[in-house]
């Protein structure tokens, strides 16, 4: 049976189509989830895609976290459902307190679109198990508020727990603390990543196909034996 992976569309989501395509490339079945649904339709994992949910009004992700579908996702995540938030999705997961820290305005104060190299640090999460720790991959960063921030105690804790998912390895593009590009929850099933793996699944349209590993990993993680 093919794994079914939900991709949430909030008003203002933009990379939902790209995320569904990446899920498909990896061999899974994408399931469209609408923001005001109260059921996850039994999906095996969920992706919160990039974009400007609710126009990023108030603060990135601050309104989306109250969407009806998020209530379901928070509950399912506590039971171990793999959840990946990309860019705006990462911001939403931080706002929902499923992930530690927050994303602030880029150091350069401008929106930047750039091909970046990130180094995978945690290769045990359901989203990264097909990579190996220390592996460099080429993906796309495109954001205006992508600087990862947390207080010193939180930073020390996530470093000690192995919750740093990946770091920028070709210079720090946005002022993220400790070059952090992505983090995972304590349980490891919820992941947030500022750069976009779904834009790096095909060399025709992206800088590499390195990003496909995120989707292939979760497919492996949820495989029914």
């Amino acid at each position: 049976m093919t794994a079914r992976i939900g991709v949430v569309t909030f008003p203002g989501s933009l990379d939902d189509r790209d995320a569904r395509r990446a899920v498909q490339y990896a061999g899974a079945q994408p399931v469209e989830l609408w923001h005001d649904e109260t059921s996850l339709h039994g999906v095996d994992a969920v992706v919160l895609p990039g974009g400007f949910s609710y126009g990023d009004y108030l603060r990135c992700g601050a309104i989306a976290r109250f969407a009806p579908v998020m209530g379901q996702i928070v509950q399912a995540a506590s039971r171990g459902l793999p959840v990946l938030g990309i860019c705006n999705g990462f911001q939403i997961l931080c706002e929902a307190h499923l992930l530690p820290g927050a994303l602030a305005r880029n150091g350069g104060l401008r929106f930047i679109t750039r091909d970046v190299t990130i180094r995978i640090e945690n290769d045990t999460s359901p989203w990264t198990r097909q990579y190996r720790a220390g592996q460099d991959i080429r993906v796309v960063l495109k954001s205006g508020e992508g600087a990862y921030m947390a207080d010193p105690q939180t930073l020390a804790r996530i470093e000690a727990n192995g919750q740093v998912l990946a770091r920028y390895a070709s210079g720090n593009p946005n002022g993220s603390q400790r070059d952090i590009a992505g983090v995972v929850s304590e349980d490891g099933n919820v992941a947030g990543l500022m750069p976009h793996p779904e834009h790096a699944i095909d060399e025709l349209t992206g800088p590499s196909a390195d990003g496909l590993g995120f989707f292939a990993s979760v497919l492996q993680a949820v495989a029914i034996p």
Binding site: P11, G12, G55, Y57, F111, I112, T113, L204
Partner: protein, 761 residues
Amino acid sequence: MSHDVVATARNASPAQDSVTAAAATPDRAQPFAALGLTADEYGRIAGLLGRRPTDAELAIYSVMWSEHCSYKSSRKHLRQFADKAPATDVLLAGIGQNAGVVDVGQGYAVTFKIESHNHPSYVEPFQGAATGVGGIVRDILAMGARPVAVMDALRFGPADAPDTRRVLPGVVGGISFYGNCLGLPNIGGELAFDPCYAGNPLVNALCVGVLRHEDLKLAAATGPGNQVILLGSRTGPDGIGGASVLASASFGGTGEGAKRPSVQVGDPFMEKLLIECCLELYQAGLVVGIQDLGAAGVACATTELAAGGGTGMRVRLDSIPLRDASLGPAEILMSESQERMMAIVEPRHVAAFLGICAKWEVPATVIGEVTDTGRLEMTWHGQQVVDIPPGSAANSGPVYDRPARRPAGQDALIAAGPARLPFPGTGAELRADLLLLLGSPDACDKTPVTEQYDHYVRGDTVLAMPHDAGLLRIDAQTGLGVALATDGNGRYCQLDPYAGTQLALAEAYRNVAVTGARPLAVTNCLNFGSPEDPAVMWQFTEAVRGLADGCLQLGLPVTGGNVSFYNQTGGTPIQPTPVVGVLGVHDDVRRRVGSGFTVADASIVLLGETRAEFGGSLWAWLRHRHLGGRPPAVDLEAERALARLLATAAERGLIRTAHDVSDGGLAVALAECCLSGGTGCVVQPPADPASFLFSESAARAVVTLTVAAAPELLRACEEAAVPAAVIGTTGGALLEVTGLFSVPLAELAEVYRAPLGDLVG
């Protein structure tokens, strides 16, 4: 979302002018001049109506008969695009629609258009540019298409001018903010600088959309009894008179803050919802006709829909949801509040229509109905305030045959050619000139600007900046795609607007061809000074004639376009700046050809003929501040032969890379190839190294190929009658011109990247 204050306008002030009052008070003075109408035009309106217009009617005519909406000074000349149109079967909808629609095969059609937002972007750069993007996107949406990408062509004053520091970051920020938030990849455009744009920057935005043939929508209110629905943002007091007061008059140079309220404010989040909502409405078959609200707002949408359908329309102006309850009928008609559309819907579908709008949280209101009276009638709390034939406002505006006269100084300008300029001869001089050009704001790295734009979203971008054209995949199965490029060169057009416009066309055509695509159709944005200046009018007529003749010769239909007049500061017009957009079809984007040198030991071949042509060149301008003589010779047959050859070579896999040679000549082209691909090159110069490196002869491209493929390519060139010369080899970490000079790529990169980083901040 309710960031708007919901205001229910119940401003039924008894002082409102009405049709009855107008008939009873024929001599009441009206402020037609302040609204941009002449006494003649005002008299004509009274003649059409058989009485003085009401205040609301005067508002409609003032915006619909403005230069911006009526094309009154250009219409006579624009007819050439139809009169000289090549025989074509690719055009599904042409000039006069919101945007032209072109058949690209496999049941797909593409619609594209470029439009100016110059004046608002000078007054308020961020919102001016942002709403320029928003407006052109709605034009594309109104055709029934999904918008899939944007581009922009920008011109600013000198990079070191104080006002450029205000205008450029604002414009780029506005485009970035609006386009990124809409989820449309920005796949290319242009950025150039000249003192003539210091008080009048150019912001031209292009959008392209894709639809199936059967999904084409037209702006026509048909079927009496059908309902008129306004959807999107509420109407506010923003942009009132933008088309007439702002876009159809010159700037005086100071005190433009007074015009600030005429600039609209954009909400890209609402536009994103509007796009998805409209596409779902189309899919459900609930839309009879649709029109976007841009310049002239409700006045334009109602008159054009009714005129387009050959029907009448009855509208209750007091039912339009407002952000400001104090607005009266005239202001509501003229408001250019953004993110609004007007749809014609059968009564039985209204409930389903409003249901889909509710799903997307897009406000939608029935404001009237289609009638068979042939009159556009509007009421305000029961009083009739408008009763006009819609075509009289939409189609029967004044047409002017403005006097055009070749400027007195034109002969002297041409006579002062570049022949007597000191040319570089030694290796050191040539090297210094290359670095001067490459380190200029015109030729330098545009990354600090373009990296503010998302070009990845939607996952179909195959090529974007810094390649010559943007290339988008349309069909993942077959690889069908479209390429788009825009070009324009004010210096060439200053010297010879006829040839200069054809050179812009030729360059855009070539830029599309180097990707391996076949050029198919043209759009244009004609940026000029005041049409009331006979010298400007001469430039304009020459440019239009050049474009129409050029398109006929290349076999490309002009699908639509936009004219922007009054681009001047005081009495000084900008250089004539027609920006030409060319759309091409790529049969299989997997065979796309990029521009950067990525592998070593490839042969470098220069296609086309190089002559000593420096009139209007970047070298003459930057090295000597010289502008004179004639621009490079136009040879459209050579362009056509080159484009065919490039398409064949891409299809047969003969070439690895291809790059257009234009501004700054071969030297700048080679430097761009080296830097974007990260590989150096060695080239052998002929006897005249200055022309070899810096001449801007047209119909040229630089390509690379494996040594093994060289004989086959050269044979193909001979068959196609395209001059070709092997000039060198890729490889190493230098750009080397044998016997003259070399520059390490690291030094090139440093010079190339310096100028804009500082400016953009």
